[in-house]
Assembly symmetry: C2
Homo-oligomer: 193 residues x 2
């Protein structure tokens, strides 16, 4: 497996500058959250560094990567191609960077829309992706505060943001984000019991 710095140097060449800066922001935020919630900082930082490794800087690189790393693209992804970078990122992490840790691979796969029963790492990466320092939108301060209150609550609020954005744009919503949100709500209910 490549070292953290080797992957970082490689991504600097393969991602757009703003994407690379965002990636470093996600690393920073995921380190904070992993320490706060008692999760392995090493795993969190690797997952964060790699979360957008499938979002290559130009369409030609994307097309080449999709041919090189066969991934399952479902009908929803075919209509919503911005989602392809998550399974593609997982495949690149596995094949190019030699990542074997299934927790890290799963967090990369789940970072765009979440999934039923997200792991702690999935949640840390999902939230960090949305609240990292370079992000700016209306209720970002509220989400950043919530991230230090409860991972499920923060996930739900981040997902609500995404769903409202998709509604505003008249775009389709991935049913996975709904399943993910529902399980987070169920988790909260179970904690209250």
């Amino acid at each position: 497996m490549w070292t953290f710095d080797e992957i970082k140097d490689d991504l600097k060449k393969r991602l757009k500058e703003t994407r690379f800066k965002h990636t470093l922001g996600v690393v920073d935020t995921s380190l904070k959250l992993s320490k706060y919630y008692g999760y392995s900082s090493e795993k969190a930082s690797f997952a964060a560094l790699l979360h957008d490794c499938g979002k290559l800087k130009d369409q030609e690189m994307m097309d080449n990567a999709v041919n090189k790393y066969p991934i399952v693209i479902d009908s929803f992804m075919l209509e919503n191609k911005q989602l392809i970078h998550a399974p593609l990122g997982e495949a690149i992490a596995r094949k190019r960077y030699g990542v074997l840790d299934e927790d890290i691979l799963q967090a990369i796969r789940n970072h765009t829309v979440g999934n039923i029963n997200m792991s702690k790492l999935d949640k840390i990466i999902y939230i960090s992706d949305i609240i990292e320092p370079s992000r700016t939108f209306d209720n970002i301060d509220y989400l950043r505060k919530l991230a230090l209150k409860d991972l499920d609550e923060a996930c739900i609020a981040c997902m609500d943001n995404t769903i409202r954005f998709l509604i505003m744009k008249h775009w389709m919503i991935d049913p996975n984000v709904i399943e993910a949100r529902n399980t987070c709500i169920q988790n909260l209910k179970n904690k209250e019991k």
Copy 2:
């Protein structure tokens, strides 16, 4: 099968007064929409009359009905019991009122959250349920106008309303409404081609 008036008289006894009034509103609206969109007024009015026949006026009647008319209740419904009245309504329409028309039964089943590939009748009932005359909420006039523009567009807007409401309440969202909304968006895209 019972006649329209027999069912109406029976529902007057079995539903709360406001629910019965709402039901008659849905019948009126569905008649307008069915004429506007060239669909059988008879089928629309029966489906509208029966859409909430599973929402009985007290908990004891609901419990008795669930025991009398076995229905499949999935785990999502168990957590969100207000959804039970749709499959229960379908069962009551079938067994008590002798409805055999599968289009009507499907429209009753789908009226709360929609489904993939909704039929024209499903959409008419889904929309009528939300915009009938006794309903009052912020953007109701917009939805009423949209209902006379395009059934898919109106369904999407009604679903958006529902999803925003569920988000505001911090409640779970049924993945079926998302699947339904996505297929309506796909229908719109196909019409534009």
